[in-house]
Amino acid sequence: MTTSRTFAAWLLCACIALPAASHADDLSSLKGELEALKSDYQARIAKLEARIGQLETQVAASPPAAAGGAAPPADVLAAAAADAAAAGVASAEVSMPAQAAGRNPAAAFNPAMSVILGGNYANTSQDPDTYRIAGFIPSGGDVGPGARSFNLGESELTLAANIDPYFFGNLTASINGDNEISVEEAYFKTIAVPHGFVIKGGRFFSGFGYLNEQHAHAWDFVDQPLVYQAFFGGQLAQNGVQAKWVAPTVLFLEFGAETGNGQEFPGTHRDRNGLNGATLFSHLGGDIGDSTSWRAGVSWVDLHADARTYDDVDQFGLPVVNSFTGKSRTWVGDVTFKWSPHGNPIQHNLKFQAEYMRRTEDGALAFDTDNLALNGDYDTTQSGWYVQSVYQFMPRWRIGARYDALDSGDTHIGLVDAGLLPLDDFPLLQSADPTRVTLMLDWSPSEFSRLRAQYAWDDARNTDTDRQFQLQYIYSIGAHGAHKF
């Protein structure tokens, strides 16, 4: 700016000097004119300098807002330019701040990228290796509090973008502390199918219930409710397709259906063509006043297990492998309420959710598949539920409580009913009603970080209470995520 001002001043001096030199004869008459001109120009230069100074402070206050369109500084810049023109200066040299890198064309087509970093520290009063949910065939998934001391949790990498005007694509890969990488979700979704239909395909978390679709970093507690751990090994992912339809009503009403290869617990991989299993779900939701919103749903998960093996011990405490073959059908009911004053969650907000599941398994159970290989009928109806609530009592701070309960129900084991084997040969299947009470406190310094402490009294073993204390961190880097209700 200083150089441009000096340049303008030189230019002006030249303008003044040249005409003055060419009319050297009438010096006296010109002298008066010159003085007038000089003072005129000086006044204008002073005005311009003031204007430039004013602009400089404005530009400093709001760095790179450029001219044009309806942008407020445009008027000022235009006025300054007009003044400059009036003053006979060729160019006002009011440098336009460069449009900043907000819209970088090279980056424009890159997918939204985000990484979640997670980890925890755990203290448990019982040995985590002995953890089991009594009365339930082990799901083989994420069950229990995990290992003691420091643990690296899941590091989750998500890439997502619209593929073209017709499809949206998403990849969520998870790297766990044991250096294994797994594909949590990798799916496409239609965005151009009209009339409220959305088709999704690939691997995705099934749409039943409330929590199943949510990724671990969005959970309000360190771990999943017991009923999810027992019935679905934490979460059910489908390798298949999903069709959803949203009704054109003011009340939210959606219906969904899924099918796939049915390989995830409680199903198994089946060497068979066609559709393996089906999931149906429906959700209803709306607002109550301007402070409360809700969603409720009912879902049905129908899967088939072919030789679904699990480890147990026989009556002498020797390890055996048993296996189930048959139908597994689960009903799920879910309800969620969210409250915040006038819908503004910044100071206070409350979330309440509950889910109930009831599963019937019907088929054959093989005992000690490696040696005796005895076969008999098996049928059972089991249920479980949880209720939890999280309250933000001041900005950044939330407390939560959760209660879990399971009922292993009446299990009919053909081999036992026929008197071939005692019930002691199936210790895992003996009737039990596991419960757990969990308290949680978390602190979120920003939208992108959260630190959590959790204490649980876990009676899943149905023998001794496991007192679990956990500290957890969740950090999010990259694209600002959008979360479902």
């Binding site: 450029a66 369109g69 407020p72 503004n344 969650p345 910044i346 959008a482």
Partner: protein
């Protein structure tokens, strides 16, 4: 057809017959865009505002009721520049509605016709929740409303061409009333020029820029982050030596922080509607600016 299938088909037919209104269904992300669309669309639009003046538009849930509204919308009117990034993408994806997807005529982004203030030259989350495209809180400069209004009129005409004449004449009428109002506001607000103010979040930048208010400090140390005790002490020290004329608070802001600062630096807190509906007087866009200027003028007198 068996009886249950027939009744199901009948139900589906009934449900799909419900939304057969002539009016254009509009989902507006803020009360201001809802008000602007009503001004321009009259009775040819059926507008639903997703949020009120008492909500922080950064922090809204992708509620089921909003998915239901998105499902049937012909047009979504949003601010853009990532203001609604935490929830609008979910609504679009879950809606099963191709009309309102990004790039479609039914997706109207207000900031697309503006040059934004405070476009950061570098972006890093250590700076708080910064918006890489610039400050998205554009509604408090009436010149922006005029520009957005022009573009929105054109968009309404494009989507509903049979009513184009209607939208055109409403647009012309609105723009002329708006120009008159702007001239009035400019002259009324002349005494406000150069007034030093403290803001909470950087959502008053456009108002300050338009009226020539000098924002000397912000209660949020960085966008989206609440102030720490240390920062507040530093703020008090800074403002005691050079006290501001007033502290601006939006209807949706918690009153505590502004009140706390006000008692220490002896500057009044001025409650501003910020959005249509934020005060009883801010019934529409005209009321929003009338009331904002009235409240500011009262505080400088």
């Amino acid at each position: 057809m068996t009886r249950p299938i027939r009744s199901l088909a009948l139900l589906a037919l009934l449900i799909s017959a419900v939304p057969a209104h002539a009016a254009l269904k509009v989902l507006a992300t803020t009360a201001d865009w809802a008000a602007l669309t009503k001004e321009l669309g009259g009775d040819k639009v059926d507008v639903y505002g997703a949020t009120t003046a008492f909500q922080d538009v950064h922090r809204v849930d992708a509620k089921p009721s909003l998915v239901a509204r998105a499902r049937s919308a012909d047009l979504v009117v949003l601010s853009g520049a990532e203001l609604e990034i935490g929830w609008l993408p979910i609504l679009l994806q879950e809606s099963g509605n191709p009309r309102i997807q990004i790039g479609q005529p039914g997706y109207f982004e207000a900031v697309s016709v503006l040059r934004l203030l405070e476009v950061p030259s570098t972006v890093d989350r250590s700076m708080g929740d910064v918006h890489p495209q610039g400050n998205p809180h554009v509604q408090l400069d009436p010149r922006n409303i005029a520009a957005i209004g022009k573009a929105l009129t054109a968009r309404l005409e494009q989507i509903d061409s049979k009513d184009a004449q209607y939208f055109e004449s409403r647009g012309v009428d609105f723009q002329s009333r708006w120009q008159q109002a702007m001239a009035r506001w400019d002259s009324q607000a002349a005494p406000l020029k150069g007034t030093s103010v403290v803001v909470i979040h950087r959502d008053q930048s456009y108002l300050c820029n338009w009226l020539g208010l000098k924002a000397v400090a912000s209660i949020e140390p960085k966008p989206g982050l609440p102030p720490s005790a240390g920062y507040l002490a530093q703020l008090v020290a800074q403002l005691t030596s050079a006290p501001p004329k007033m502290i601006l608070r939006n209807a949706y802001n918690d009153p505590k922080a502004a009140q706390w600062l006000s008692e220490r630096v002896h500057a009044p807190v001025v409650l501003l509607p910020y959005s249509v509906g934020g005060t009883p007087e801010a019934k529409d866009l005209f009321g929003l600016f009338d009331d904002t200027i009235n409240r500011l003028l009262k505080a400088v007198q």
